[in-house]
């Protein structure tokens, strides 16, 4: 559309990003990463109290951290996406018990949706009709 108005550099960058995105479950990984970050943000208990409670308290931090890592790994190592997304969904569901009801439900929802998207993603699909029409020739 307004592509000619942009400089070549930014167009190349956008195209490169589009290609990069096309070869990995981008939204799945991104949502799972955001979910982990959101749950971590809702956790502000002083570390002293957490250490006092022990392993159970630590799990509240451990699970969302693992979610965040799984999300990043889905983005940067998409070949292993099945394992990461399975781990991701289990962790997401686990945060309901360990971390503020899954970051007040928001993080749990994001994590579950992200994991499912990553799990359902397949590479090398035929382009959709709608996309074909829009593509510049």
């Amino acid at each position: 559309m307004s592509a000619d108005a942009r400089t070549d550099d930014s167009r190349d960058l956008r195209e490169a990003f589009r290609q990069w995105r096309a070869h990995r479950p981008f939204w799945g990984g991104l949502l799972l990463t955001l979910a982990g970050a959101e749950i971590l943000l809702t956790e502000k208990a002083s570390l002293k109290v957490v250490l006092h409670i022990g392993m159970q308290g630590l799990a509240g931090y451990l699970l969302p951290t693992m979610m965040l890592l799984c999300g990043l790994l889905i983005l940067f190592n998409p070949a292993q996406r099945l394992f990461y997304s399975l781990l991701g969904i289990l962790l997401s569901l686990g945060t309901w018990l360990t971390s503020n009801l899954g970051g007040f439900f928001v993080g749990l929802l994001l994590g579950a949706v992200g994991s499912c998207l990553a799990f359902g993603w397949l590479p090398d699909q035929k382009p959709r009709r709608r996309l074909l029409r829009r593509e510049p020739v």
Binding site: V49, L108, P123, K126
Partner: protein, 224 residues
């Protein structure tokens, strides 16, 4: 892109060759979410999530809490506890917290620790600017139960009665709820505590186990 219904776009015969195979015909062969594949995971996950919530609402499952950052209000018509401790302290906010204001990121708080507590008509609300996130639980016979409940509060009011209370201990020598405060700080402890019409403004609550029967979470104009 991800959510559009594309189950009919192509049959599933495309061989799964991640990344490497796509170099030749690269441009248009994008990866995509197949809805049916995603559903394989989404359906059981939804079922498990629903199961967790139902179990939690029935109080069969303990949920562990660890929150703060923003002050929130907790009310209960009655609190009964065994093993009670209370001492003063200072809570630090996360660095550069937007809630710091002119406090320098520190709040003076009273830490109350209760070994085993039951609460009737628990209500918890957080002011999110305009609307309140409201959580209620535990009415009638199904009371909220918590073990190793620790709250950092700035305000506490109610009608209290204590058994075997010791006032004026050093906070580091407390032993009734298993939490120790800093040395040289005033504290008190008691074997049992009963507070009616409890109202607290808290900055942090932690509990090893928090059972919430009849859990209801909703947004509301009014806080507790």
């Amino acid at each position: 892109m991800a959510s559009s219904p594309d189950a009919t776009a192509s049959n599933g015969s495309t061989p799964e060759t991640p990344e490497s195979g796509s170099a030749a015909n690269g441009q248009d062969r994008r990866g995509r979410v197949r809805l049916r594949r995603a559903a394989v995971m989404a359906v059981p996950a939804t079922a498990v999530a629903a199961g967790l919530m139902i179990l939690t609402a029935q109080g069969a499952l303990g949920v562990q809490f660890a929150i703060s950052g923003m002050p929130f209000t907790v009310t209960a018509t009655e609190l009964n506890g065994t093993g009670f401790e209370q001492f003063g302290g200072l809570d630090n906010m996360a660095e550069d917290s937007p809630n710091a204001g002119d406090t320098g990121g520190q709040v003076l708080i009273v830490t109350s620790a209760i070994k085993n507590a039951t609460l009737d008509h628990l209500c918890q609300s957080v002011d999110l600017g305009g609307t309140n996130l409201l959580i209620t639980a535990g009415s009638g016979a199904n009371k909220v139960q918590a073990s190793h409940l620790t709250t950092d509060s700035t305000e506490l009011s109610g009608d209290a009665s204590f058994d075997n209370i010791e006032i004026g201990n050093d906070a580091s020598t407390l032993d009734k709820a298993g939490v120790q405060g800093p040395k040289g700080v005033f504290s008190q402890q008691a074997d049992t505590v009963r507070i009616a019409n409890l109202r607290q403004t808290n900055y942090a609550t932690t509990a090893a186990v928090f059972k919430l029967p009849g859990l209801k979470l909703r947004f509301s104009d009014q806080g507790c």
